[in-house]
Symmetry: C2
C-alpha cells in the first residue's frame, strides 16, 4: 500500500449525502408528475458534446466557464453548461421523428467553471421545460401555469411570477427615439435590483438625458394591478403593438385561471440581453427576494437555427434546483424525506440470520420498509445504529422466540414493547404504531 | 447567420428520446423503491474528480478509457468511469458523519472511452448498491436478496443468480499445489463462456498438466443442486475452510427465503482477477444467456484503503442499466411507459384559450393528465397530433359549447362521442373510458 490520498473533491463540486439525495429524488419526482400531467415528456442528452455544437462555430476563444478538452481521438469536446443548447441540437437532429408542438422537460446536471468565491457551484442540476414549434399566447400561458404548479409542488406558498415582453420595451424606447441605445438601457434596467433606483437613474440620464431617464423608470416601475400596468403600457407603445396584444391575451388566461394574485406584469423584467424575443418570466420568493429569480424563462424566435434551417419558435422556463433547495432550506419548507426504514430486525443470534431475513421479507410484503442488522453485535450497538438512522421500531427474535416462532416489537421512541407476536401481528402492530 | 452546424453527437453517446427516458424514469423509480424498502439510501458524487482520486497515485500512464484533462486551473481531472471508486473516496471523506454499516445505492452516469465498434457506449447509467462496514453472511445474503428483488422489479421472470467464493477456488488450487498459477488459472476459467470447454481444457493442461486440468474443470463445473455442489466442494478444500462455511451459511438463508431455485452455487464464477476477496455474484437471463451477466458483484476486504487507514469491508452489486434495457427490449418484457396524457383539449377558437386552460386544470384536479393544444390550427392537424402522440381522448369546446359552458368528449380510439357534458361529467366519462 502506498501513501494515503486525501479524499477531497474539486472546488465547486460536492458529494450529495443521503438526506440531500432523498430530497432531490422526491422533488424531481414531484416535478416530473407536474410536467407529465400537463403533457410534457422527458428527454436526455449526452453530458459531453462536440465543442462546436455547444459553443457554435468560431466559438474559438475558450470560454473560461466551459469544461473543454481534447478527447482520446483528439476531438474538441466540452461538458454541457446548460440544457438549452443541447436541446436545440436535439430538436434539429430529431424533429423528423418527433412531432410538433413538442413539449419536453429535462432534469440533469450541467457544469460551469464559475468563480467559487461567490458561493457558486461548478456542478449543478438544471430543470428545463419548453414548448417548441408554436408561437401562441396559449403556449406562453401554459409555461406560466406550469411554473406556478411546479413551485407549488415544492411546498412554496408565497411567491410571485413576474411577466413582461421584450418587444414591448423595445417599442417604448423606439417611441422616444432611443432604439440605438436599446442594449445599454436594458443593461442598466437589469441592475435595478442590485444597484438601486438612484444609481440606475444616473446611468440612464447619462445615456438618454434626465427627462427620458425618468420616463424609462416610470415605464419599468409600472406597479399597481396588472390591468393598471397594461393600461399604462398601452399609452406608451404603438396602438397596434403585437407585444401588447400578446400580454393582454395572456393576462386574460391568468385571470380566468385564478392566478391574478400570483402573476404580475412587470416591465422591469428583462432577462439578460439577447436570446429571448417575446414574453419573459421571473419568479421571486416573497420571503427571500434577495436570492433573485428561482424560475425564469421566456419566448425565443428560433431555437435551433445553428443546426437546422427549420424554424422552431418556442417558449420555456428553467429551475436551478440547487439554488432553490438552499432557498427552501432557509424557508424551512423542505418536504421531509424519509431516510430510514420502518423496522430494524435485530440480529440477536448469528445462527438465526435466515430467520431474520425471512421476517424482514414478510414485513416488506406487508408494505413496511424493513432492514436486517447484518451481524450479532452487542444489542447496545444495534440500538444505537437504529437511533442514529432514526429507525422507529425494532423487532426482537432470539433463541427463546425462535422456539416459539414469535417475536417482540419495540417502539424505540416510546420504549413500549409488544411481546409474543406472530409476524403478521407484528406487521399490524408496526403499521398502527407508525401511522396512528 | 453562419453556416449550419451538423447536429451530431459524439460516437458512443446517444440522445434519450421520450419513450426511452420515461422507461428509465420508471425503472429507476422501481429500483429505488426496492432499495429503500430494504433500508438502502441514495447518494451522489461529482461527475468530475481529481484524476489522482479516480486513478490512484502514480496512475500516471493515461488509461485510454478514462476521459482525463487539465481544467482551467490546470488541475488534472477526470470523469468517473465507475461508481465504486468515487464511493470509496466518499466513504473515506464522510465515514465520521455517517454510521456503519452504511447501505447505499447510486444510480448515475459514468463515462468510458470504450471501443465503439463492439457496440459499446461511452456514456451509460450504472446502478450500484453496497453494504459497507460489516463482513457477515447476513450482509452477503442481503445483497443476493436485493439483486433478486431488483431483477424481478424490472419484470424479468426467468433468471438465475450464480454464487461462488473467490477464496474457495484459491484453497482448491492450493490443495493441488497450484497457488502460484492462481491468476493464470482464473484467467483461463473466466474464458469458459467465450472459448468453450475444449480450449480452456487445453490452456489449463498447459499450465498444470492434463490430470489437474480435468480436476479444475470438474471443480468449476460442479453442477447439480447447490447442496450437491457444496458437498463436492467440501471434499476438495480444507475442512476448516472459512469460505466453505460462509457459502454454507448463505445457502441456508437462500433455502429459507425460498430462493433455492433462483440462486445457484457455481464455482466457475470468478468475476475478473482482483478486487473481490469473498463471495462473488453474477446474474444470467435464462432467455438471453449470451449477453452475459446483467447484475454482478461481490465482497471486498477493504473498500477505501487508498484514501483512509480505516478498514471498510463491504459487499455489493451493480447493474448496467443500458445493457439491461437492451436485454429487456429483446425479451419484450419492458414495462409500458405512458408517454401521452389522457386528454387533449382541442383549440377550436383562439378567443377561448383561457377556457381551454381552465378545462385542462379542472381535468387535472380530477386526476387526469390533460394537455391543451396551443393554437387554433385545423382540426385535422390537431387530431393528427393526438394520434401521433397516442392521446386517447379529445375534448371539444367551441363557440357553441362556450355559450352553454358544456363540452363534448371523443374517444379517438373508437370514435365514440359524448356530447353536452359538464367538465365534471367529462372527467367522469374520461375516467370510465380509460379504465373501464
Amino acid at each position: 500500500m502506498g501513501e494515503i490520498i486525501e479524499p477531497r473533491t474539486l472546488r465547486g463540486f460536492r458529494d450529495s449525502l443521503p438526506q440531500q439525495e432523498l430530497l432531490k429524488e422526491e422533488i424531481q419526482g414531484n416535478l416530473a408528475r407536474v410536467f407529465r400531467r400537463a403533457g410534457f415528456v422527458p428527454i436526455d442528452t449526452p453530458a459531453l458534446e462536440y465543442a462546436e455544437i455547444l459553443l457554435g462555430k468560431g466559438g474559438g476563444e475558450t470560454d473560461k466557464q466551459v469544461y473543454r478538452f481534447l478527447d482520446h481521438g483528439q476531438r474538441d469536446v466540452a461538458l454541457r453548461f446548460d440544457l438549452t443548447v443541447p436541446f436545440a441540437r436535439f430538436m434539429a437532429a430529431h424533429v423528423q421523428e418527433l412531432y410538433l408542438p413538442f413539449k419536453r422537460y429535462h432534469m440533469a446536471k450541467v457544469w460551469r467553471g464559475e468563480n467559487t468565491q461567490r458561493g457558486r457551484y461548478r456542478e449543478f442540476i438544471q430543470i428545463d421545460f419548453d414548448i417548441v414549434g408554436v408561437d401562441s399566447p396559449s403556449a406562453d400561458f401554459e409555461i406560466l401555469a406550469v411554473m406556478h404548479e411546479a413551485i407549488r409542488a415544492l411546498g412554496v406558498q408565497h411567491f410571485h411570477i413576474h411577466l413582461s415582453h421584450r418587444e414591448l420595451f423595445n417599442q417604448f424606447l423606439g417611441s422616444m427615439g432611443l432604439q440605438s441605445a436599446y442594449l445599454e438601457v436594458l443593461r442598466a434596467i437589469d441592475k435595478l435590483g442590485k444597484l438601486g433606483r438612484e444609481k440606475v437613474d444616473a446611468m440612464l440620464a447619462k445615456l438618454a438625458g434626465a427627462e427620458r431617464a425618468a420616463a424609462i423608470l416610470s415605464f419599468v416601475e409600472a406597479g399597481g394591478s396588472s390591468q393598471a400596468t397594461l393600461d399604462k403600457l398601452a399609452a406608451a407603445v404603438p396602438r397596434d403593438s403585437s407585444a401588447l396584444r400578446r400580454l393582454t391575451e395572456i393576462q386574460a388566461c391568468v385571470v380566468e385561471a385564478g392566478l391574478g394574485d400570483v402573476v404580475r406584469l412587470d416591465p422591469s423584467i428583462t432577462r439578460g440581453l439577447d436570446y429571448y424575443t417575446g414574453v419573459v418570466y421571473e419568479t421571486f420568493l416573497d420571503d427571500l427576494p434577495g436570492i433573485g429569480s428561482v424560475c425564469s424563462g421566456g419566448r425565443y424566435n428560433d431555437l435551433a437555427s445553428l443546426y437546422t434551417k427549420e424554424q422552431l419558435p418556442g417558449v420555456g422556463s428553467s429551475i436551478g434546483l440547487d439554488r432553490l433547495l438552499s432557498a427552501l432550506e432557509e424557508l424551512g419548507v423542505l418536504p421531509a424525506a424519509q431516510a430510514a426504514p420502518d423496522v430494524l430486525v435485530l440480529c440477536l443470534d448469528d445462527t438465526l440470520i435466515a430467520a431474520y431475513h425471512r421476517l424482514a421479507t414478510e414485513l416488506r410484503s406487508r408494505g413496511l420498509a424493513a432492514e436486517v442488522y447484518p451481524s450479532a453485535r452487542k444489542l447496545s450497538v444495534q440500538l444505537k445504529y437504529a437511533e442514529r438512522r432514526g429507525i422507529p421500531l425494532a423487532l426482537f427474535h432470539g433463541e427463546a422466540e425462535a422456539a416459539s416462532g414469535l417475536c417482540n416489537l419495540r417502539d424505540l421512541r416510546t420504549r413500549e414493547t409488544c411481546d409474543g407476536l406472530t409476524v403478521q401481528a407484528a406487521a399490524e402492530t408496526a403499521a398502527r404504531l407508525l401511522r396512528p
